[in-house]
Amino acid sequence: MKQEDNDSVPKKLYEAPKIMTINLRPEEAVLGNCKISGTGGPSGGSCVALRCSTIGS
């Protein structure tokens, strides 16, 4: 019975494992950059009292 069941199920084609490259933006991912100044974190010149309203986006 088992052999008959195996014969009736179509075999999947083998696909070799693939390595995919995913691009990471480390400077964004670590919550570090300020969009206005382009520098890391609030820069004072473009943020009032360190209240950065356009965090890295």
Binding site: I22, V30, G41, T54, S57
Partner: protein, 317 residues
């Protein structure tokens, strides 16, 4: 400030008693992460975006005391992470220490967070050399508030993603993940122009999974992008799109299904994670697998015009 530790379904939380006279307490709820902060003297200005997320809850996931200090000795423990910009993380006995420094002030940290490793309680120290009490400085200002939420999410079943999220008039949720410059704010504006949308955020969204309903929910956050959308609302997500600009030679919008590990990888690359914490990364990876199992994911190569909106609305997999 007295804290009582009680247990709930998400583990131990803190219940703060009513502060004595002369003390203040504020609480905020962001993506169902409850933050409580207290101190004495004048209640600080938390900023208009964070104020949208103020709550009245005395039950919090993370309770913080605000204090002032003049001396900031170097961390005694080893450094765990350097963001390369404003903040660093070090061991601090049984807990953790986040230092925030900027050339705008000087060599010393302008702010420091001591917190336990479970991110249940801690204290923020503001540097008295740089700020005076009653100034406009918000103790939770970026990136501290977001760091606390990201670390809480790493210990729960949730994740913050670099994304724009919005809901149409029929209640359908659309989620667009993207790096800086991918077009999140542009997409938000395009959708908002053409349809009556409720925008939860044009830059930062928190995702959670309702396991009983097998549905993914998205939450607005205070941390907006250029289009300045931030709403303390939530919505079930119907589809998730990884947002990219269509190549110049491609005249049309293109939607391509993403499956399995590729979808998990693309989402993870657009997530905010405590990279130094292996346990949190593990937790988040398994959570992203559940997200991908519950939610159709696509890559959207879009033209920056109104055609992208209709391409998404009319797309049928």
């Amino acid at each position: 400030m007295l804290l009582n530790h009680v247990s709930n379904a998400r583990g131990v939380t803190c219940v703060a008693e009513e502060p004595p006279a002369g003390l203040w307490r504020a609480s905020f709820s962001i993506g169902e992460v409850a933050l409580g902060i207290s101190g004495d003297g004048c209640q600080p200005n938390f900023g208009p975006q964070l104020e949208l997320f103020r709550s009245e809850s005395s039950t919090c996931d993370l309770e913080i005391e605000l204090q002032w200090a003049e001396e900031f000795p170097d961390p005694a423990g080893r450094q765990l992470f350097d963001s390369g910009s404003v903040w660093t993380l070090s061991e601090d006995g049984d807990g953790l220490l986040f230092d925030f420094s900027s050339d705008a002030f000087g060599a010393e940290p302008y702010k420091r967070l001591h917190v336990d490793r479970g991110f249940r309680s801690g204290r923020i120290l503001l540097n008295r050399k740089y700020f005076r009490e009653g100034s406009q400085t918000g103790p939770l200002d970026y990136p501290l508030d977001e760091l606390m939420v990201v670390h809480r999410l790493g210990r729960e079943r949730g994740v913050e993603v670099h994304a724009a999220g919005m809901r149409d008039a029929e209640g359908n949720g659309y989620l667009f993940l993207g790096h800086s410059g991918a077009g999140k704010s542009t997409t938000t504006r395009l959708w908002n122009q053409q349809h009556s949308m409720t925008v939860l955020s044009d830059d930062r969204i928190i995702l959670r999974l309702n396991e009983a309903q097998h549905k993914v929910w998205m939450y607005g956050t205070p941390w907006h992008g250029e289009a300045a959308f931030a709403a303390p609302e939530k919505c079930a997500v119907q589809r998730l799109f990884i947002l990219e600009h269509a190549p110049d030679h491609q005249p049309n919008n293109r939607v391509t299904p993403l499956r399995g590990s590729e979808a998990v990888g693309e989402i993870m690359a657009r997530s905010f994670l405590p990279f130094y914490d292996a346990a949190s990364l593990d937790n988040t990876l398994s959570f992203l697998q559940e997200i991908v199992a519950a939610l159709p994911c696509y890559r959207l190569e879009f033209r920056p015009d109104g055609s992208a909106v209709e391409a998404v609305r009319q797309f049928r997999s």
